[in-house]
Amino acid sequence: MYEPKIIAFLCTWCSYTGADLAGTSRLKTPWNVRAVRVPCSGRVSPELVMRAFDQGADGVLVLGCHIGECHYDSGNHRTAKRIPVLHSLMTFAGLEPERLRLDWVSASEGDRFARIVNEFTEAVRALGPSQWRHVNSLPSVELPNTAPQEVKEAGVGG
């Protein structure tokens, strides 16, 4: 089965603790999610999300504290405004809208975390691999149109 690569930006105060709770409660969550712990969901600048897709993420999940519960008072207000704008921009540029999701998970909502992550993973899985990174761009590992001319060895082992 196709396994999507998912990057989840988790606010350290609520969502990351929520994810912890999901773990300690032994709730089943997919292993596809790579968690990136951030001080606040307001830290998740659009560049971070774009870079994640550029580098091959199939989905990006941004989770923060519920509005009114931000450790920094209003950090998540900004998230609540920015991510939807970014969502519409990236959709306009050709990203499937389902690949980016913003939601709120508090420290006590282990079950909610598990549900969102499962939902999101299944939604992204259904879409298949993201074409964002690869379309029309140079292959990244092979060396195109060039032949090895000369190989220089350092001659020392690590």
Binding site: E47, D54, S74, K81, L95, V135, N136
Partner: protein, 291 residues
């Protein structure tokens, strides 16, 4: 053109009375192409022109001109600037972002009923209007110290952005292909950014030596990252002057990205950039209270 004399007279008056150190306006170059002009002496005011070729958004020069200079941060002289209605909204955005203060600029607003296609690159003052002008219904600047021309009633336009609608109707895959085929031509000359009054960061995020956000090469996905990132940074700030698209030597429809985001800002927050000197809603908290 009728307004030329009035602009010249105003410039002459401001400079001879020492009210401003410089007047930024338009002049005709040796090939007849309209271009930005910086007038420092009342004797040079006669170079100023106004016609349908005055396409440049001159507010892009304001930040540099009004930034405190030297080690002692001495305050630069006051500057007068000729603005069209679209350009005038850029001044509001820059004021909202504290780039300079209102008393540092003397705004010569000019009523405008459209700029012709090809302006700036050809000696041309008649002909079909630029696309942005065909969709524009704003004929009077929103902020000015003196208004040149008669405040005409706002005109009516079809209000329909066909290019935007066409793209919105596409599937994500089609849109991705469309944009990649456009960005493929980009040569990273950064003219779009340099022409933009809102792109006034001292060092662009995408051009830092140690930038992690985008590579320096011209792979199409790197160029896409730059253009999308730039568009995002303009959300709620872009006034739609479309200079970025005009200056692009590769004719990439960059303005489409900005128009899409302007539309979203309108839908999501009921916000239009530059109508008043207030910052973009995505820099403020929910419900708009304070920033």
């Amino acid at each position: 053109m009728p307004y030329t004399d009035e602009i010249q007279a105003k410039a002459r008056e401001l400079l001879s009375r020492g009210q401003t150190a410089c007047v930024i306006g338009y002049e005709a170059g040796p090939r007849g192409r309209v271009r930005p002009a910086f007038i420092y002496s009342p004797d040079d005011a006669g170079r100023l022109v106004w016609n349908r070729g005055c396409t440049h958004n001159l507010t892009t020069y304001l930040c540099q001109k009004l930034r405190p200079h030297g080690h002692n941060g001495s305050k630069p002289g006051r500057v007068a600037i000729v603005v069209k209605p679209c350009d005038s909204r850029a001044i509001n955005v820059l004021l909202a972002e504290n780039q300079f203060s209102r008393d540092q600029v003397y705004i010569i607003g000019v009523t405008c009923d459209g700029i012709v296609e090809g302006a700036g690159f050809k000696s041309i003052t008649e002909g079909p209007l630029q696309k942005r002008c065909q969709q524009c219904s704003e004929h009077v600047p929103v902020i000015y110290d003196v208004l040149i021309g008669q405040p005409a009633p706002s005109g009516k336009t079809s209000g329909e952005d066909k290019d935007l609608a066409r793209l919105e109707a596409m599937s994500p895959v089609e849109r991705a292909e469309f944009w990649l085929s456009q960005f493929d031509r980009c040569i990273r000359c950064y003219a779009c950014r340099q022409a933009c009054p809102m792109c006034n960061c001292p060092t662009c995020l995408y051009e830092r030596d140690d930038s992690l956000w985008v590579g320096a090469g011209i792979r199409v996905d790197e160029k896409r990252t730059f253009h999308l990132g730039r568009a995002y940074h303009l959300a709620g700030r872009c006034v739609g002057c479309d200079e970025c698209e005009r200056v692009c030597p590769m004719q990439i429809p960059i303005g489409l990205l900005n128009r899409k985001l302007a539309k979203e800002m309108q839908t999501m927050f009921g916000f239009r950039a530059g109508v008043a000197p207030v910052p973009s809603p995505i820099t403020t908290i929910l419900n708009g209270e304070g920033s």
